[in-house]
């Protein structure tokens, strides 16, 4: 989230789309309810009427996967009716930047497309630069090649008629939503978006988010109280996990995983450190080498020296142009390319799209280590449906681990707040905390490398591994390492620091090997002041619910990021009633400002040479309305989900995202065109009572009592068509698999009128698995396709094609 949970209460208009917040983040509704108490309007757009919809002031539906059409129509509405926040858009976003004449868009494709590689040459999306190498700007926003004019042209095609035909949303509903939300374009109004997997789990997932980010920028909703782009994370600590590089493409703190072509530390830093010629751009990522070197020092300690590139050669590299995402890993596993697999705190047999492929992939391993708290479909894959243990060679180990309340550590929530948690009880029996398991595992691995050598022992033998106290894993040691230390006596910014003391914040990290930091973003979380994540001061001094002394958030405890955009160019808050920061004439007061530089203009309206543009994480300091870095285009464009109920796209001749890649094993079956065998749109989602694949919740009797079985929701017309009554058992099938479910025939699903035909949708929660309970049903992911977003590879589990029939028919 750019903002945080409590800040939702500051909003005037809350859009919940691509999320069912009341269902899956019920505590967030405390803040939504508070906002509504103060007069905020709640808008909910969802293919089905959910628990969130029941609380909304305005509800309407749309076909799964058509969000870009819906939101593109909103952009068109905002621009056509001039409802955008002019000063904000002109000065804080790249709407004023002028594009080179190489840029164009035609019939669903941007300039630079290579049909052979199905990828773009992004040099076609570059900005026109002046003689100093700074992007040319037109603050009047009139230049035909300025981003705003190109944006207008792009979304002029998203008329109400076209949008309604694509989404199935009635025109009057579209208008109502657009009107209500666009009213937050005023300086003292804030609109916020709460979104989740309903937006991300698509082959256009990233572009879905981009569309909303553009809307938020047009309306001046970034950096302000009650605004922002707010992802509701799906696990209590997934934010922490992604921050600490759970994913293959990053190092901790969103540094990049080196490519094979980054043959030295210098080459690596050069490649990934953005530069700017504009002295008014802070270009905060320009500090990249300080963070990468500090990270290497945390990894290898004293073994990392300037002479050996701080151990850069010991870090794994990825092949250029290759993807190692979840979908790619399971594809390789299915092809028999993996010997072993640690399924650590996860249940791929149920959680991954195309679950049959994943289950069969597990059978190709030599060994599998499953670390979890309960028996699950992954560790027990070998005795699952369709499996013959006699034919499976995989040796499976189950390591029981402790649950969160049986160990100490931190959890980072969606709002970036790192909150320290304490141990309440001892783990039962042989269950151990993950930290202890990792420590013991690595100690043994290192011993083996010492004894036997191995292909490349250096990284293993040189790894700094001092995270225990009294032989036990100590989260405090890890937390401190993440923060980072001064490794020798130094003077930074005129202050003296002693060797072995904790670095106060990332502003003090160095690229010369004199500092360490396991994750630069978290530098300040645990410093000489103490464990800031453990702070529990419930007093809010800000008036807007910042609670700055409750726990600690990154970066540097800044609660609302991009807050330099919450003020006008003189440093006065756009909204005097809910200021985030304010310039006193000498300094900023309020939240931690996004840099202490003075406002853009002096009192006499002249440009202050000491200022910096507000969006400090972009090389040119301006927010990206035009996004030149994404795989599938600088402006979001509507394409259908890979599997869709229509054969034409009214907006272009490209039905699908032209940069999407498919997998090619026999287990990868896709419907590239409409198929009468699978005529209904399928979607998956969650319920309040269960969590993820249900590994924890299906064993909890009270929760299971509430939601005992896999169900399939459908509209009354479809049910009548198929002779299905409420509570009948049905079979839902896709080209990839099938599941048995209990039908819930409901008015909350409605058939949609799409491009002249009627489209039915069915939906299933993905919380179930064959291990337990016996008649609970299996994973809805047996139906979903192994195809993902071209930027993130997140699977498209929200829109695919299925058939449904009554069991026994």
């Amino acid at each position: 989230m750019t903002n945080h949970w409590i800040d939702i209460a500051n909003s005037d208009c809350i859009l919940i789309m691509g999320s069912n917040a009341a269902e899956n983040h019920p505590i967030s509704f405390k803040w939504v309810t508070k906002a509504m108490k103060e007069g905020a309007t709640l808008i909910n757009v969802d293919p089905r009427f959910t628990r969130t919809s029941s609380r909304a002031d305005i509800y309407t539906s749309l076909r799964p996967g058509t969000d870009i059409a819906f939101l593109g129509g909103m952009i068109n509405y905002i621009l056509s009716n001039k409802l955008y926040f002019k000063e904000y858009v002109a000065y804080y976003t790249n709407c004023c930047f002028i594009l080179s004449d190489k840029y164009s868009f035609e019939d669903g494709l941007f300039a630079g497309y290579n049909p052979k590689t199905r990828s773009y040459d992004k040099s076609y999306w570059a900005f026109e630069k002046d003689k100093n190498g700074i992007p040319k700007k037109d603050h009047t926003l009139k230049h035909p090649r300025c981003v705003l004019q190109q944006l207008k042209n792009h979304y002029a095609r998203y008329t109400l008629d076209k949008v309604s035909a694509i989404t199935g949303t009635p025109k009057e509903d579209l208008l109502k939503v657009y009107q209500t939300y666009a009213a937050t374009g005023k300086p003292d109004k804030a609109g916020t978006i709460m979104y989740a997997m309903g937006w991300t789990q698509h082959t256009v997932g990233v572009q879905n988010i981009r569309t909303m980010a553009i809307i938020q920028l047009l309306l001046g909703n970034m950096g302000i109280a009650g605004g922002g782009v707010n992802a509701l994370r799906g696990e209590s600590n997934v934010q922490g996990s992604t921050d600490h590089c759970l994913l293959w493409h990053i190092w901790p703190g969103y540094l990049k995983t080196p490519r094979a072509s980054n043959t030295s530390l210098a080459a690596y830093n050069k490649k990934w450190t953005p530069t700017t010629k504009d002295p008014l751009s802070a270009n905060w990522w320009g500090n990249y080498p300080k963070y990468s070197v500090s990270f290497l020092k945390s990894m290898f300690g004293e073994k990392a020296t300037a002479k050996n590139d701080f151990g850069y050669d010991w870090m794994p590299k990825v092949d250029d142009g290759k993807s190692y995402s979840w979908l790619d890993l399971f594809d390789e596993m299915y092809r028999g390319k993996f010997t072993g697999f640690f399924a650590w705190g996860q249940n791929p047999a149920c959680s991954g799209a195309n679950a049959n492929k994943n289950r069969e992939a597990l059978a190709k391993l030599d060994w599998l280590v499953n670390v979890n708290i309960f028996e699950n479909e992954t560790g027990s894959f070998w005795k699952g449906p369709g499996m013959d243990p006699k034919k499976i060679k995989t040796e499976v180990f189950f390591l029981p681990c402790a649950v969160s309340v049986e160990k100490e550590g931190s959890i980072t929530n969606s709002g970036r707040w790192m909150q320290w948690r304490y141990k309440a009880v001892e783990p039962k029996g042989d269950c151990r905390p993950d930290g202890d398991i990792i420590v013991e595992l690595f100690n043994k691995i290192r011993d083996l490398y010492k004894k036997e050598g191995g292909a490349f022992p250096d990284p293993v033998l040189n790894l700094k591994w001092d995270y225990t106290s009294n032989g036990k894993y100590d989260p405090h040691r890890v937390a401190k390492e993440i923060n980072g230390y001064f490794l020798k006596d130094v003077t930074v910014k005129g202050k003296k620091f002693k060797k072995g003391t904790l670095v106060p914040s990332f502003a003090y990290l160095q690229a010369d090997g004199s500092t360490s930091s396991g994750n630069w973003l978290y530098c300040q979380s645990y410093n000489e002041k103490g464990n800031n994540a453990a702070r529990r001061n419930p007093v809010d001094k800000s008036g807007i619910g910042l609670f700055s002394e409750w726990s600690w958030c990154w970066p540097v405890n800044r609660r609302i990021i991009y807050n330099r955009a919450s003020v006008d160019r003189y440093g006065n808050p756009w909204n005097k009633k809910k200021p985030v920061i304010r310039w006193t004439g000498k300094k900023w007061v309020g939240d931690v400002p996004d840099g202490g530089w003075p406002p853009m203009l002096t009192k006499d309206g002249k440009l202050n040479p000491k200022t910096k543009y507000p969006f400090i994480m972009k090389p040119e300091g301006h927010a990206h309305v035009f996004g030149p870095g994404r795989a599938d285009g600088p402006f979001p464009e509507f394409y259908e989900p890979l599997e869709c109920p229509v054969s034409e796209n009214p907006l272009s001749s490209h039905l699908h995202n032209p940069t999407v890649k498919l997998f090619k094993t026999s287990a990868d079956k896709y419907l590239m065109t409409c198929d009468p065998r699978y005529p209904y749109v399928g979607t998956t989602y969650r319920v309040t009572e269960h969590w993820q694949t249900g590994v924890m919740t299906r064993w909890q009797p009270w929760l299971l009592e509430c939601q005992p079985q896999l169900f399939c929701e459908m509209d009354e017309e479809l049910a009548k068509l198929k002779g299905i009554k409420n509570a009948d058992l049905v079979i839902v099938e896709s080209p990839r698999g099938k599941v048995e479910a209990v039908a819930i025939v409901t008015k909350r699903f409605k058939p949609l009128k799409v491009e002249g035909s009627v489209v039915h949708m069915v939906g299933l929660p993905y919380h179930y698995g064959w291990v337990h309970p016996k008649n609970g049903g299996d994973s809805a992911n047996l139906l979903t396709p192994s195809v993902g977003d071209p930027n993130t590879k997140i699977p498209e589990t929200k829109a695919f094609m299925v058939n449904v029939r009554k069991k026994g028919v």
Binding site: F29, K30, F49, Y59, T688, Q707, I744
Partner: protein, 244 residues
């Protein structure tokens, strides 16, 4: 009037079932093996192990979909009909706690015909536990007497569940009703003068739950209870000790 009350604002309820589970947790009530009977609501009804049940009702009117949630529980009536019925059989089987007004069943209810008691309740609340004792919401009187909120109230994230001194809860209920009446002319409080668990709804109570509100034409009042009601005050006078 003294004692405590619940104020349940159904417009703030999103059926998260935190209350249903918290009640089970505090009372250490078992879960039963259920099936999906075509609804999110489960168990289907209150039972010997379910004292708090979130009821789901969906309907469509004038092109609008409504999904009403009703977190059902004992009303802790000021003059509980169940108490009358039970005391027709056994004295001292029902206690009305003098501090809170909570209506509490004791072990002695094992000796009372269950259906008769249940049918005498306008809200269809009393159930029978495996032990044979009659059971229902206890207002978490053990928590309340220790200065804590009932488990369901503590858990509720949105402020649908409220609890406190009766006069404060009535004031809160009336204030909220006035706010909602503007947008929802059918908004009403359900039997606020005769119960301690006061619900606020924005539509016909029947749309939420058959027994949401006490209706005059309820079935199943036994002849015995009807007789008792007739003789009521006289019966009190005939109790030993009262007249000397």
């Amino acid at each position: 009037m003294a004692g405590k009350s619940f104020f349940i604002d159904t417009t703030r309820c999103m059926a998260c079932r935190g209350c249903q589970i918290a009640c089970k947790n505090w009372n250490q009530n078992k879960a039963s093996e259920t099936q999906n009977w075509g609804s999110y609501q489960n168990p289907k009804d209150l039972d010997g192990n379910t004292f708090k049940l979130v009821r789901f009702s969906e309907m469509e009117e004038d092109g609008k979909i409504h999904w009403y949630f009703f977190p059902d529980q004992c009303r802790h009536c000021l003059e509980p009909p169940c108490k009358d019925t039970i005391e027709g059989y056994v004295d001292g089987a029902v206690i009305q706690d003098k501090d809170t007004g909570a209506v509490l069943y004791t072990e002695k209810t094992k000796k009372v015909p269950y259906e008769e008691v249940r049918d005498s309740c306008p809200y269809n609340i009393p159930r029978k536990a495996a032990s044979g004792q009659l059971v229902k919401c206890t207002m978490c009187v053990d928590r309340v007497s220790a200065g804590l909120l009932p488990a369901c109230v503590k858990t509720c994230p949105t402020g649908a569940m409220n609890f406190g001194d009766r006069d404060k809860m009535l004031a809160l209920a009336k204030k909220r009703l006035a706010e909602l009446k503007k947008k929802y002319p059918k908004a009403q409080l359900l039997d606020p003068d005769s119960v301690r668990t006061i619900y606020l709804v924005i539509d016909d109570p029947q749309k939420y739950h058959k027994f949401a509100i006490a209706s005059n034409d309820r079935k199943g009042i036994s002849r015995k209870l009807a007789m008792k009601k007739m003789l009521g005050p006289a019966r009190q006078l005939l109790k030993p000790g009262l007249l000397g």
